[in-house]
C-alpha cells in the first residue's frame, strides 16, 4: 500500500533518525515531499510511504509508540469553499492537479489526496480560499 501523510515530531524526538528505521527495520519506501523544523524544535514532514500492509502498520505503530503523531494529508490544506469564487487562477499554479477546474461545471474541485502541501495555492488564490492548518 501507498499513502501520503504528515508526521509531527515533538521537540524531544526531532533529532532521532526515524526515516532510517522505517527503511531498514520495516522495509518501507519513503518519499519526503516536504520537511521543516520550527523554532520550538518541533519537526514536521510530508511523506509518501509505501510497502507491504503489515510492514506499513508496524512502521506507523513504531512511530506512534515513540511520540510521533501521524495525520492524514487532507487536514493540512483546506479549501474554504464559501470563499472560493471558482475563478480558476489556482488551477495552473497547483503542480499536482489537486486543484482542478472541472471544464463542464466550470467549478474548482479540490482533491486532497493529490495535495503535496507545497502551499503555492495559498497566495495564488485571489480570494484567499486556501488555508493551511497545522
Amino acid at each position: 500500500m501507498k499513502e501520503k501523510m504528515v508526521l509531527y515530531f515533538p521537540s524531544t524526538v526531532t533529532e532521532q533518525p526515524f526515516i532510517y528505521y522505517l527503511v531498514k527495520d520495516f522495509n518501507l519506501l519513503i518519499n519526503i515531499l516536504k520537511a521543516n523544523i520550527n523554532p520550538r524544535k518541533e519537526g514536521r514532514i510530508v511523506v509518501e510511504i509505501s510497502g507491504e500492509k503489515t510492514d506499513f502498520a508496524a512502521g506507523l505503530d513504531f512511530l506512534q509508540a515513540r511520540g510521533v503523531k501521524v495525520f492524514p494529508l487532507e487536514q493540512e490544506i483546506i479549501w474554504v469553499e464559501e470563499r472560493c469564487t471558482h475563478c480558476g487562477a489556482c488551477a495552473v499554479i497547483c503542480p499536482v492537479n489537486a486543484l482542478e477546474l472541472n471544464r463542464t461545471t466550470m467549478k474548482i474541485e479540490f482533491h486532497g489526496d493529490r495535495c503535496v502541501v507545497c502551499e503555492h495555492c495559498l497566495k495564488a488564490c485571489p480570494s484567499r480560499a486556501m488555508e493551511a492548518r497545522y
Binding site: 495552473v92 466550470m106 495564488a124
Partner: protein
Amino acid sequence: MKKTIEEINARIKTGKAVVVTAEELIPMVMEQGIAETARNVDVITTGTFGPMCSSGAFLNLGHPVPRMKMTKVLLNGVEAYAGVAAVDVYLGATQIPETDPANKNFPGEFNYGGGHVLEELVAGKEVLMEAMAYGTDCYPRKKLEKMIRLEDLPQAFLFNPRNAYQNYNVAVNLSDRTLYTYMGILKPNLGNANYSTSGQLSPLFNDPYYRTIGPGTKIFLGGGVGFVSWYGTQHNPQAPRDDNGVPTSPAGTLAVIGDLKQMSPRWLRGISYLGYGASLMVGLGIPLPVLDEDVVRFAALSDSEIFAPVVDYSESYPQGLGQVLGKVSYAELRSGEISVNGKKVPTAPLSSYYGAREIAAILKEWIMQGEFLLTAPVFNLPRDKGLPDYRSLVFPAEA
C-alpha cells in the same frame, strides 16, 4: 421581426416573457435558426464575475456633532478619497493601507485593500472609520474615530468607472522568471496563459455594437440592481473587429452605478494578486431585449467564434509595444490548453465562468418573476472615436 421594449416589458409583467441566458441561446439558435429564435425569445441574459480594478464606492459618512469637514478618512486603515464635500468620500477598490509593505518584500501579498473593505461593508460588518480635519467655523470638529456599518450610512453607492471590458488580453510570459501581474502569476517560458472574460456569456460580447446596452440600461450589479451610467474609461470601440463584428482585442467598457446597500458579499469580493495589489471581483449581468433578429445573431456567437489576443507580459505589455503573439478562441481557452509559438500552454481564467453562469441565471429568474423590467439606453455608447450621439434618443438606434 421587430419588438419594442414596451411590448417585452408588458410580457414580463404578465409573466409570459421567454427569457434565456446567452449560453442557453446558442443551442436554441442551432436547432431553430435565428428568425424562429428571435420570434420565440424576448430577453437574453448575460453575466460576468471577474476582477474589475476600476471600481469603488461613494459613501456619505453622516455628520457627527459637532460637524466636520473630513480631509483624511481611513476605513479599516484604507484611505478613502475625501477631496469632495464634508463627509463624502470615494473608496477605491485597489487602495491599500498605508502600513502595507506593498512590493518592498517582493512579491507583496496585498491581503487587504479597498475591495475588502467594500466586501465587509456589504456583508454587514463593522468597519473602523478614522477621520481627520483642520477645522473651520462651520465644521469645527478635527478628529473622529467610530465603528460604522453600511446600514447606518445615509447614502452609499458603487460607482465603477470601468467594468465589463469587451474582450481582454490572454497574458503569457516569454521571459525566464516568474511574473506577478494583475493577470495573476505567470510562470516563465510560456508556463501558463491567463485570461479574464466570461466569453460567450460576457455582456458586451453579446452586443458588440452596443445596440441595446448604453447609459440608462438597468443591470444586475453586485447582487443588486444598478445602471449603466456612461461609457467606461478606456472605452475603445475602434479596436479591430472580425467578420462577425466582434472586437478581437480589448474594446468597449462600461461605467456602472448601483446602490451598495442592495449588494451582497457573494458578488462583491475583495481579492489579492500576489506582487500586484488588492482589487475587487464584481458580479455584473445585463439583459438584452430581443428587438430584432440582429440581437439574436450577435448574442448567439459562441466561444469558438470569439477571439482574444495573446500578449507577452514580460515585454510587450509593460513596454507598450502592442505586439500580439496570436489570436485564440474562447473555446480553446476554456478547454484548458492553447498553442502559443508552437508550444502547448495550459490556460487559467481569472474571471469565474461559473459565477457568470449563475448571474445570467439569477437575472433570468428576476425577469421571469416580473420583478425586473428592461430599460432602453438614454443614448448610445460611442461606436467610433467621436463623442456619443446625445441626440440619438430614438430607440432602437441604428447598428
